[in-house]
Structure formats: C-alpha cells, structure tokens
C-alpha cells in the first residue's frame, strides 16, 4: 500500500452528490471513493465501479461445500468405516442431502462474508484512514486522488463549484493498515513520503 495525496469534499445531500460524481468523472479526475451514511442506489453505477464478482465467489464456495460434504460422507461410510445402519445402503443419498445442503450454505455464507470483508478492506484490528469524522454519520464525503497530472488547487475550486463544503487536502494511506489510530496513524504518515504528487 502506499501513502497518497487526496482532496476531500463534503456534501450535504445526495441530490448534489450525484451530479458532482458525474462531473468529476467527465473532468477526468481520479475518484478514490465516496463515503455515504446509507447505501445509495445507483451510486456504484454513477461512479463507474464494475459489477462485483462476490456472487461468483459465493458459487465457487457453495460447490466446494457440496463436494466436501458428499465426498467426505461417502468416504467415511464406504471406505473408512462401513456400518450397517437400519439396513440402508452404504451410499444413502437422501440421507446425505440435508448435510450436503447445510455444508453448501455454510461454506458459501462464511466464504462470502470473509471475501466481502477482504474486498472492502475490513478486518478486526485493521484500520483505514478516515477522511472526515462525519463521513458515514450524516455527510457524504467525496475523495479525489491527486495524481501527477492533477492540480490540487484546481480540484478544490472544481469541488467548490460542484457544491462541496469543507474542502481540504490530505495525505493518507490509501489502503488498510494494521495498528492503532492514536499511536500509528499520524506518526506513520509523517515518516513516509507520498508516492504520487
């Protein structure tokens, strides 16, 4: 991960945010992220984010669960320890189905939760920089990355024209990091030079 420079703008209303997101994209600025207090329908589309692959991952976890359950039970009851249970065959498929179903659901659910956390960079004890204290409280926060081609002052006036308030420039770690807010965030940033700008 890398420490980068950002321009941060605060929005009051999603009705102002939506056109601003579109303007930022047409102007060619690099949108780092938009933080909202609630899920905003269609924002992912407006930001140009690609469709998530989480469901494909879920399908793969699911069939892994199916295969695990079926192959393990068949191995146990046919190879490792064959038992006669109520005169049923050694491969009683109907009896296996509930467990197969449960394991499919378990694998899919647990796998998808962890994958979701990974994709969103959420984990216990792992932190991400907070651009504004009210970013998921009651304000919409738009973060634009300052690349070599971007003029920070120009972005600021652009955001002001688009209806943002409280515009400021920040140097921050772009990804997730391990540590504590009070000890690590600020000193960590002071030590390292930004990779862009």
């Amino acid at each position: 991960m890398a420490v980068k420079k950002f321009v941060v703008g605060l929005f009051d209303d999603e009705a102002v945010l939506f056109p601003a997101v579109k303007k930022v994209r047409t102007a060619g600025y690099k949108l780092h992220d938009v933080y909202t207090p609630f899920p905003v329908h269609g924002l992912d589309h407006a930001m140009g984010l690609r469709e998530t692959s989480l469901h494909t991952a879920g399908f793969i976890y699911g069939i892994t669960g199916t295969t695990t359950a079926l192959s393990f039970m068949s191995w146990v009851f046919n190879v490792d320890w064959p038992l006669n249970i109520g005169g049923k065959p050694h491969f009683p498929l109907p009896a296996f189905i509930p467990i197969t179903f449960e394991l499919t659901v378990l694998f899919a659910a647990v796998g998808m939760v962890y994958t979701f956390c990974y994709l969103c960079q959420l984990m216990p004890f792992v932190k991400k920089h907070i651009f504004h204290p009210r970013q998921t409280d009651d304000k919409f926060v738009m973060v634009i990355e300052v690349t070599e081609k971007t003029n920070a002052e120009e972005v600021k006036s652009f955001l002001a024209a688009a209806g943002a308030q409280d515009i400021n420039e920040q140097k921050a770690e772009a990804g997730w990091w391990f540590g504590r807010w009070d000890k690590d965030d600020e000193p960590y940033l002071r030590k390292i030079q930004t990779t862009n700008a």
Partner: protein, 401 residues
C-alpha cells in the same frame, strides 16, 4: 402511453387454435378411451383442470400476499395477475363438473373410496370414511370453489372501482385498509383450502390408503411457482407489445427472483416428503413411491426433479438472465411444463397405472392454455393497465432492486 389493452388478432387466433386443439383431443379421447380405458380420459381431465385452476388461483394469492406485505413494486403490473385470476370462475366450473362426475357418476376407478363395497371390506377406508365420503367431498369442494371465486371477483371489482377514486391521502388509506381486510380473509380461506384440505380430497384421495402431510404444501408450491411463471409470461407479452410502460427489467428481476426462490422451495417440500418416507421405509407409506421411483414412472420422477429444480436453479442463478425478457419467457415455459408434468405423475400412476406417452393429457393442457389466454386477454381489455389511484404506484414506478 398505451394504457388500454386491445387484443391483437394474432393472440385471439392463437387462443382459438389452442382451444380447438384441446377440444379435438377431448373428442378423440372420448372415442379412443371407452369402456375400461375411460380411466385415462378422466385422469387427464382431473389432472389438467386441477392444475390450471390452481395456477390461475396463484394470481389471487399473489395479489393477496403482496398486498398484505404492503408491497409496492407489483402495482405497475397488478392488473395482470388480476386479469389472470379472473379465469378462476370458469376453471372452477370445469373442475367442479369433472370431480362431480367422478364422485357421483357411478365410477370408482379414479376415487375408489366412492364405492361402498370397497369401503366396507377395507379397514383403512372405513376408518377414513368420516373424512373421505361423498358428502364431505361435495360440501368442501363447493365451499372452497365458491369462496375462491367470491374473493377473486371481489378483489378485481374493488380494484376497478378504485380507478374512479381520487389521490387524497384519506382515500389512499381507505383503499389500503379495505384491500388488506379482503386479502387477509382470502388468505385464511386459501391456507385452509390449498394449504390443507383441497389437494387431499381432490388428488391425494386417488391413493386413498396413502397419506402425506406434506402433500398440500407440495401442491401449493408447485402451482405457486407455475402461477408466478404465468404472470411473468403475460407481463413480458404486454411489455413487448408496448404496454405496461412503467414495468422495467427491475420488476422482471423480482419476478425472476420469485421463480428462482420458489423452485427451490418446491424442491425443499418435494425432498421433505420423499426423505421421511424413504427413511421410515414403512410399506403403507412407500407404496406411493414404489411405482414412481422403482416402477415404470422412474424416468418421469427424475425428469421432474431435473426440470423443476436443476434447470431453474442453474438458469436463474445469474442476475443477467433474470433481467432478460427472452430468458424469462424460456424459463417460465419450462417451469409451467415441468409442474404440469409433476401433476401428471401425481395423478396417473394411481389411476392409469402404466406409463404411456401423454399425448391426450398434453392436448387437453394446450386447450386449457388457450382458454386461459382467451379469458385473460379479454379481462385485460376491461380496465386500464395501471391502477392510477393506488397510493403505492409511485413506489412501483421508481422501483430499483
């Protein structure tokens, strides 16, 4: 905005051709299955009339369930299930005639409990005769059919009447309240009929010795998912002909999700019924599955599972297919056919016994499809396609999944 449906000549022609095929099959059946073969004639009629009645009744259930859940998304196409549900009175009349002939027509090949000699010699049937007798059968059938028709017609009438109302908040509250009351009452009737007694007396009593507490729910799941497929077909048809301006792929996506979910629900009940009987392995219970799983009907039994579970599961899993009009039409037809096949394997092994190519049953089915198309198209012309005074209409227009 095209809000008033006009039946296209082609649709009318299609419905007449299908009804003609059905009628022709009925006549051929009347000639081909005489005397001792007449069992197949009546079994085919019972299978088709109960199946198509229940899948149109699923539309009334759709309206009632979504209304009670205070759903808003379905308002943009609510007139479609309303129109489909108006086929219930006609199909109920057909079914009534069929079952009354089966019970009082002096034949005991479909329902062998109607024969007093069988009952007298048979301990199980004697014991069950408190429930399985002509009087109870008739009263229960008249009562359920009457109440279904009453509530279906009432909901439709109320909905059309509301087009003359206004958009004030008090009117909206009144509209929601009276719809909630009628839908609530209908669902009580529905649960006690389709969810409990009706499939037992109409269909499960074919195998009068056998019993399954899952049977009614199984039948309900089967007809409910087919009913959703039927609604989707009409919605897509109207959309493709430029009607239902407010219906988008978002609404289609939700209908697709419903079909996906209830295909799995059907499988869940199918399996719950099968597994308990398989596990206990008691002769009085396994006799039902003997001809189906180990007899001639084995291919149909597994084909049933393939069409009604594996196909919708894999096909509707992806988001894109649920939002694609052509894909939804394809899977809706597969689902309706699959559950028709399910009804066939519920009725025929206990009556016809032998597995034969179901040309007669299928021909009759086409006739019923034609009849439903004719009735529904006719009903769709009777009111605007958008209930313009419904307070949730806006919610449906801006619906986004």
């Amino acid at each position: 905005m095209k809000d008033q449906f006009v039946v296209p000549a082609r649709l009318k022609k299609t419905s007449f051709v299908l009804m003609g095929v059905g009628l022709l099959t009925l006549l051929i059946g009347l000639v081909a299955f005489r005397g001792e073969h007449s069992t197949r004639f009546w079994a085919g009629l019972l299978q088709n009339s109960s199946f198509f009645l229940l899948i149109t009744l699923a539309s009334t259930f759709f309206i009632a369930a979504t209304t009670l859940a205070h759903g808003g998304w379905q308002i943009a196409f609510r007139r479609v299930p309303e129109a489909i549900s108006m086929a219930v009175p006609v199909l109920a009349a057909i079914l009534f005639v069929v079952v009354m002939i089966l019970v009082f027509g002096g034949r005991d090949d479909i329902y062998h409990w109607v024969n007093p000699h069988h009952v007298a010699e048979d301990k199980v049937l004697t014991w069950k005769s408190a429930f399985l007798n002509k009087g109870f059968f008739t009263i229960a059938t008249i009562l359920t059919l009457g109440l279904w028709v009453f509530f279906t017609v009432r909901l439709r009438k109320m909905s059309i009447e509301e087009d003359g109302w206004d958009l004030r908040p008090e009117t909206g509250r009144k509209l929601l309240w009276r719809n909630t009351v009628v839908c609530g009452a209908f669902l009580v009737v529905f649960t006690l009929s389709v969810g409990s007694t009706t499939p037992w007396i109409w269909l499960m009593s074919i195998d009068a010795h056998w019993f399954s507490t899952m049977y009614s729910w199984y039948t309900f799941a089967s007809t409910w998912v087919s009913g959703l497929a039927l609604i989707s077909l009409f919605v897509v048809y109207l959309k493709k002909h430029g009607y239902l301006t407010f219906v988008t792929e978002e609404h289609l996506h939700d209908l697709g999700k419903f079909m996906f979910a209830f295909s799995i629900f059907w499988t869940y009940l199918w399996f719950s019924q099968y597994m308990l009987i398989w596990y206990a392995n008691m002769p009085e219970e396994t006799e039902y599955f003997q001809p189906r799983v180990w007899g001639q009907w084995r291919p149909i039994f597994f084909l049933n599972l393939l069409i009604n579970f594996v196909t919708p599961l894999l096909f509707l899993m992806k988001r894109d297919t649920k939002r694609n009009y052509t894909a939804i039409v394809f899977i809706a037809i597969v689902i309706i056919f699959g559950h028709w096949l399910d009804f066939w394997q519920m009725v025929s092994p206990g009556t016809v016994k032998d597995l034969v190519f179901p040309w007669f049953e299928f021909g009759l089915g086409l006739g019923f499809v034609g009849l439903i198309i004719f009735l529904v198209a006719n009903q769709l012309t009777k009111a605007a396609l958008v209930p313009k005074n419904h307070p949730y209409l806006k919610e449906s227009i801006v619906h986004h999944t």
